[in-house]
């Protein structure tokens, strides 16, 4: 009931401008999506200017982290360890509304909600993550509906379901992971997942196999480090095939259809190609390839719709920039800085940001890739600054840093 009351107030406010019922505020920023991008933006706007009202619209009760979720698949951590609630944002004065944004009216500066209300904004942040283009893989929707084929590329119920399938698979079975063409969410993610499941098989069902069918010609991230780990740790268990794009899937024969052959497996984990999340498509924010949203990297403002800032995996990535949690968190800081500047009558200035992505290759050992991204006025985008690189070798020390990164970024984004 409280939420409905709030929305009524918000609806009334949309006609009146930026006045609110309580203390006078500078303006209202609405954030759609409570992932790494949206949550961080909501928190940092409040941190940097507490006179701005921030409303976060999120459909789920909890944040569930994609990073570290591959360890759940390996059996090395649990769902509760990768989940956080939104109470930390409320402590920063963010109004968290559990609802779904179904439409954006950029002319009226208003967001319509699934529950029927509407909410007005001065600036809108859309951090919708990804959705899948299921039609690219023939038979996918039927296969998914049967419950036998999963993507588990959004952490949550599918993560739990995939772990159950792996546990139920008899020893000697084949787990197939189908990887879509880049760009996709989390470039090293598939290879970490293959490693985690190979580690589980090695321990619990050593006659089983992990078969990676990659649409890309080769491992797209940290290739040398992953391949070294696979040949050292999982010989005879993990097999990798490049240029193996899934064009179809059949849950009745339990096979993945490649361009030239069908491959049978016992657990089919097919990750379809992605595009920006549905609300970005509905709002006309997609500018590139029918998939991604181009932005001004000084402000994260959409190049298609004024007053709307797009963050995270949904963006048309700048050169050498991965779709990662670290990047979404940093996109949010660019947007927060720019929006605070704009609402205070200042010209936004570019912000230098950092990416760091850890991947586990065994229960305790991890590898890493890092880069610094700096505004280039000549090229009009963010470019990789000097430096950056990958781990010298896989190590438990990197594993400790990986867990530090996870705990810290969850707190930096949500607490």
């Amino acid at each position: 009931m409280k939420r409905r009351d709030f929305l009524k107030v918000a609806g009334a406010t949309s006609l009146a401008g930026c006045a609110t019922t309580s203390a006078p505020s500078k303006a209202r920023v609405v954030v759609i999506g409570g992932g790494f991008g949206g949550a961080t933006a909501a928190k940092y706007i409040r941190l940097w200017d507490a006179s701005i009202d921030v409303v976060l619209i999120e459909r789920d009760a909890q944040f569930v982290s994609c990073p570290i979720s591959n360890l759940v698949l390996g059996g090395y951590t649990g769902m509760q360890d990768i989940s956080r609630d939104y109470s930390g944002l409320a402590r920063h004065g963010v109004q968290v509304v559990r609802d779904e944004a179904v439409a954006i009216d950029a002319a009226k500066k208003s967001v319509r909600l699934a529950s029927g209300g509407a909410i007005a904004y001065e600036r809108l942040i859309v951090s919708p993550g990804i959705d899948f283009t299921f039609g690219d893989v023939q038979g996918y929707e039927a296969a998914m509906q049967s419950g036998r084929v999963l993507h588990a590329w959004k952490a949550g119920p599918q993560t739990v379901a995939l772990r159950r399938q792996l546990e139920a698979m008899p020893d000697g079975g084949v787990y197939i992971l189908s990887v879509p063409l880049a760009p996709y969410r989390c470039p090293p993610g598939p290879y970490e997942r293959a490693s985690m499941i190979a580690a589980y098989f090695k321990q619990a069902k050593p006659k089983s196999k992990v078969l990676v069918l990659d649409a890309n010609p080769d491992v797209t991230s940290k290739a040398g480090l992953f391949k070294r780990a696979w040949s050292d740790l999982y010989p005879g268990i993990l097999e990798y095939r490049g240029n193996a794009r899934a064009v179809g899937v059949d849950e009745k024969t339990m096979s993945v259809k490649l361009e030239v052959e069908d491959v049978k497996g016992d657990v089919l984990n097919v990750v379809p190609p992605h595009r920006a999340g549905d609300i970005a498509q509905k709002a006309g924010l997609i500018t590139s390839n029918n998939r991604w949203c181009d932005v001004d990297w000084r402000t994260m403002e959409s190049k298609a719709v004024k007053g709307v800032h797009v963050l995270g995996d949904a963006t048309l990535s700048a050169p050498a920039m991965p779709k990662s949690g670290s990047m979404a968190n940093n996109h949010a800081k660019i947007a927060a800085a720019a929006i605070v500047d704009l609402l205070n009558g200042r010209e936004p200035a570019p912000l230098q940001i950092i990416n760091t992505c850890y991947s586990f290759v065994s229960e305790k050992e991890a590898i890493r890739v890092s880069s610094v991204h700096r505004w280039d006025a000549g090229k009009g985008t963010l470019l990789a600054a000097p430096g950056g690189g990958v781990s010298a070798a896989r190590s438990e020390s990197e594993g400790n840093y990986a867990w530090n990164w996870a705990r810290t970024i969850w707190a930096d984004s949500l607490a």
Partner: protein, 96 residues
Amino acid sequence: MLRIALAALACIALQAYAQDRPRQLASACGICHGTDGRGDGKVLPPLAGMPRDQIASQMRAFRDGQRPATVMHQIAKGYTDEQIDALAAFFAAQKR
């Protein structure tokens, strides 16, 4: 009248702007070191409240290859002397 008020506001805003930049630059470090350098301290020493000279000299040592590291030798190369000094001053001024 309104114009004078706006001009005054712009003046205050410009000062705030100059002060805000190091905090915004430092926010990128938050993914591993915590918001405003206040991480949980379990794996990495908190940057918040660390002496300014120590932060600046270590960043330069990472950057110039004098201090070995798993990651900071790569990240520090992306920062200028001016940026390193701004970050050091900002983190040193934060309460733990």
